[in-house]
Symmetry: C2
Subunit: 233 residues, 2 copies
DNA sequence: GAGTGGTCTAGACCACATA
DNA sequence: ATGTGGTCTAGACCACTCG
């Protein structure tokens, strides 16, 4: 484990355990470097990480302070992972509607930077939180990165499978959001009526090498989903 | 100007000017530190910054690469500023519907961490891009942070005014997103029909000292707005 | 194995906030 | 004036990628 990660984890755990309120002042940098027996730069790096994650904020000349924990039940848009982490207070389950190997269409091939007609896994899932459907997800994975998939795996957390079994490490992701009116078929799957609102996201997730490995289109149930974004300086 | 900022700006300018494509390899760290005459740590910090901003990605053991410039015309959700920067290719204008000093309601007082009934500026604006309305914005500013406002100022960029004239520096922001069906009044203002979809955001912007200084509720026109989010490791 | 980015250190100095 | 976080350095060593 990296030292700055240890420091960050330890500090975050401390804040959560003590349930420190927003604005609570934390020990200064010098105290921290004595406590953890690491250099100032390592402390600084740990604090920067926590700041980016919305756990603390730092004010030059003043100190280090706890940042408000976000409202519960909101999907956090900031990390390239699935919902399993964000919605940990809920029981997230999936129903696989479709799972097959297909030749890829031009539009999706472009996003994934692969040849048109090369093979991809197409996965269509309904996702539930505490038994309530909150989104419909259609994903495309090039077989060169995801050589095997089945319904059993897709019923669980795909991202766990990718990380654990396939040893894929994700890097960055691009997200495009639109608000639309539902068409008939999608509405039916979400237990809504056609013409009702929905948020859709197109997401292109890249491996840490920069190669695209997932194009997904997700349609959210507007009554059963809400979103949080932490924006940092 | 900070050295790592100079390096970051210079590299970003280079990428934009040369219109380098995604995946283009940039000079390695050693070449960069020779070119800019700074230490390795400073280069690293500049690169980390660019990585967070979605301009590049780094692969350990391999190199530094250009990341795809995002699609045009999307509102970027990642910085605590207004739209003037994001939609620079558009002409953003505002129509002030309402601007007054009011005693603050309980709910908003809680968000802004001020006393109920203390004075705030309430500003309601319609915002246009190239003459098309894209959102309705209702903002609340405590007068202790924003002692003066008028219609002329609010017709322009409020954030410029806050930064330039009031010397306020923003820190972090919390955003909460919901998708709703429009009510009659809001729909009329956006030239839509009641029941049509909309994305709403609640945003609490804090100063760099951690004090809340803006609570805003924004309702977006679902046909005239779309959003981008860059998600990084 | 050579090349490349990532971590970590110890210490100097700077910039801002608070009283 | 003091305390606090932020920047920057020079250099050692680690971890990963790729031919």
């Amino acid at each position: 484990m990296l030292k700055y990660q240890e420091v960050a984890n330890s500090l975050e755990a401390h804040i959560r355990e003590q349930q420190l309120a927003q604005g609570t002042k934390l020990p200064n940098v010098e105290q921290l470097l004595n406590e953890f027996h690491v250099s100032k730069s390592t402390i600084t790096k740990a604090l920067t990480l926590l700041e980016q994650n919305g756990v603390i904020y730092q004010v030059q000349g003043s100190g280090i302070f706890v940042r408000q924990p976000r409202r519960k039940g909101y999907i956090n848009f900031h990390k390239p992972k699935g919902f399993t982490d964000d919605l940990e207070e809920f029981c997230v389950t999936s129903e696989v509607l479709s799972l097959e190997i297909q030749p890829v269409f031009a539009e999706i091939a472009k996003h994934l930077k692969i040849d048109v007609g090369s093979d991809i896994y197409y996965v269509k899932r309904l996702r539930f939180a505490n038994g309530h459907v909150f989104c419909l997800e259609e994903s495309y994975f090039p077989i060169k990165h995801v050589p095997f998939l089945n319904t059993e795996i897709a019923t669980g957390s795909l991202f766990h499978y990718f990380a654990q079994a396939l040893k894929l490490t994700t890097g960055f992701a691009d997200n495009y959001l639109h608000v639309i009116q539902l068409d008939n078929d999608t509405a039916k799957l979400l237990n809504l009526n056609s013409g009702e609102p929905a948020l859709t996201t197109e997401q292109i997730i890249h491996l840490s090498t920069g190669e695209p490995f997932d194009y997904s289109k997700v349609t959210y149930h507007y009554k059963n989903s809400q979103f949080f974004m932490s924006i940092n300086k």
